[in-house]
């Protein structure tokens, strides 16, 4: 046969293939062995005020690679965002934005009537866009304070420079600036230095508003003089670095000091009671004249009331779960919905097939959305009725019911987990909102 006549050729080829594959395999093994030995090597000294993530990325390329992926826009069942193309205009050079939530849910426009949010409110998207999306939102037309920049940029360096080395003083100065002036002090969206100490990479809180906020909450819980950077455990920090921004807040007084309203507890009604004690209002409702409050994104507060917090699971465990790269185990620095990485996010603890886990989450979020819609419809109907009953003798009391109901509904609506962080607590808050609407309507019909 011909094949045997070519025997030397075939033996030669087989020998080459075997040698080459073994050689490549050995190289691969060598690479993995080295990875295990040298997990980290810092190639460049990182300065104490280094806010450029690329400099950190030189020493931590895998984490940096994940961080850069925060530009990705992915949709989940209820959350996430879509990358929509737009034609840049003179005041707004963005070519890609996320969907317009005011168009998706026009009830928001009624709820926020008379407030800047009713003019422009798009779906939130990744950390990478936090700075540009805030600079170019139409809400800027009413003139925002510098306080807003606290959570829309890497501000550590700016605050340290403004305060001549005193973080808190720099924080006060930043708050008092007009937004556009404050924006000139910063360069990057949230960056490595906002959560990590460049000296040793340990987690560190850099936002004075959180340092004060958590101190007031701990005092409420019976712990005096809580210093988060000294007293928090490693797993606490895996929550607190995120809670520097993913919280409910308000701007206190003339100096617009960013403040977290936690001294009465971390639930929607506790925070409402805090606001009622100090008679705080964000704006006067255009349709009803009620003095109302805008709720922000209380992820930390809501999560704190949920089963995962009680079980000691941190934000990072699900939103930045460990991943394997070769022989190394690293924290995923692409921060997004756990529904986009179910195996790593959930199955570390829940040994259940991925499809089933997704179904569980869908079940919670479907029911949550149904409940929220019921309350939201009731609130809008209530607002319309108040609008037509401006001459009612008890109008002030009715307006107060609107204020309370609206805040609690908005508190649940604005939270970014569609109920998942604490399903029952979110339902309880919605129930309270519905109860205020009910009481208000009784008064209206008298």
């Amino acid at each position: 046969m011909k094949i045997f006549r070519n025997a030397p050729f075939w033996v030669f080829t087989v020998c080459i293939v075997i040698s080459a594959s073994c050689f490549l395999l050995a190289l691969n093994i060598l690479e993995r062995k080295n990875e295990e030995k040298n997990m980290h090597h810092q190639v460049k000294k990182i300065g104490p005020l280094e806010d450029n993530p690329a400099i950190w990325g030189a020493s931590f390329p895998l984490q940096y690679e994940g961080y850069l992926k925060n530009v990705d826009q992915d949709r989940t069942r209820y959350g996430g965002s879509e990358a929509l193309k737009r034609i840049p205009t003179e005041g707004d050079p963005r070519v890609i934005v996320s969907q317009d939530k005011l168009k998706i849910d026009p009830r928001l426009v009624t709820m926020w009537a008379g407030y800047a949010f009713s003019k422009d409110f798009r779906e939130e998207r990744g950390h990478a866009f936090m700075l540009s999306d805030q600079i170019y939102t139409k809400r800027q037309k009413v003139g925002q304070p510098g306080t807003c920049i606290n959570c829309h940029a890497s501000t550590y360096k700016a605050m340290m420079l403004l305060g001549n080395g005193d973080l808190t003083q720099g924080f006060y100065k930043l708050n008092q600036m007009p937004y556009m002036e404050a924006a000139k002090q910063v360069k990057h969206p949230v960056s490595c230095i906002d959560c990590h100490d460049p000296e040793n990479m340990k987690l560190r809180v850099t936002r004075p508003a959180f340092i004060e906020g958590i101190k007031s909450y701990k005092k409420f819980m019976g712990v005096d003089d809580y210093d988060v950077n000294k007293m928090a455990s490693v797993s606490d920090m895996r929550v607190f670095v995120c809670a520097q921004c993913h919280v409910e807040y308000y701007f206190k007084g003339k100096d617009k000091v960013l403040t977290y309203p936690w001294s009465k507890g971390l639930t929607g009604d506790a925070i409402l009671s805090y606001y009622n004690d100090i008679n705080f209002k964000d704006w006067t409702h255009k349709l009803t004249g009620a003095e109302v409050i805008k709720a922000q994104h209380p992820e930390f507060e809501t999560y704190s009331n949920g089963i995962h917090a009680r079980s000691g699971v941190s934000c990072v465990d699900c939103h930045m779960p460990y991943k394997k790269v070769g022989a190394m185990k690293i924290t995923d620095h692409q921060i997004n919905s756990p529904m986009l990485k179910v195996n790593r996010a959930c199955r570390t603890c829940h040994s259940i097939p991925e499809d089933e886990l997704i179904e569980r989450v869908n079940l919670i979020q479907d029911k949550h959305t149904e409940m929220k819609d019921i309350v939201f419809d009731a609130l809008i109907a209530f607002i319309k009725k108040i609008e037509e009953a401006q001459g009612h003798p008890d109008i002030d009391k009715i307006r107060k019911y609107q204020r309370d109901a609206q805040f609690l509904l908005d508190y649940v609506e604005a939270e970014n987990s569609v109920g998942f962080h604490a399903p029952q607590e979110s339902a309880r808050t919605l129930m309270q909102s519905l109860d205020y609407i009910r009481e208000g309507e009784i008064l209206l019909s008298k």
Partner: protein, 133 residues
């Protein structure tokens, strides 16, 4: 000419500690780094004095044991070299069945009566006796 590939095979075999895979030593399972966490938690588990990895993850009998080792060795080597695998690791049907049956190697007496009713999935509940996932 054959000496060249044979040389490569032998040297790679030694360099990768290939011979350790023929043994019963739990440390061998940590060779390729991926299962280090499983190894560490096994060393602290309730079974570490009485069982090794092979006690639960290979069937009894010489042929069954080494055929299983060969199949998994190939599959794991392929998965790790290409990086194409799920993390946290997911045990699949073939290996899960072996592990479930292995409980009976020692615990037949205790569960004799319950097993008379139907086959049991022991590790559905006792999932952390050997190591955490």
């Amino acid at each position: 000419m054959l000496s060249i590939p044979i040389g490569f095979v032998i040297s790679t075999f030694i360099y990768s500690k290939g011979y350790s895979y023929l043994s019963d030593a739990p440390e061998a399972c940590g060779n390729c780094h991926i299962m280090n966490d499983h190894l560490y938690s096994y060393q602290k588990s309730s079974h570490h004095t009485g069982a090794v990895c092979n006690s639960c993850h290979t069937p009894s009998g010489f042929f069954g044991k080494y055929i299983t080792k060969a199949i998994n060795g190939w599959a794991h080597g392929y998965a790790f070299t290409t990086g194409d695998y799920a993390w946290p690791l997911q045990i699949k049907g073939f290996n899960k069945a072996i592990t479930n049956k292995s409980c009976l190697k020692c615990h037949t007496g205790i569960i004799h009566t319950t097993r008379a009713v139907r086959e049991f999935d022991c590790i559905h509940c006792h999932s952390d006796v050997g190591h955490l996932r």
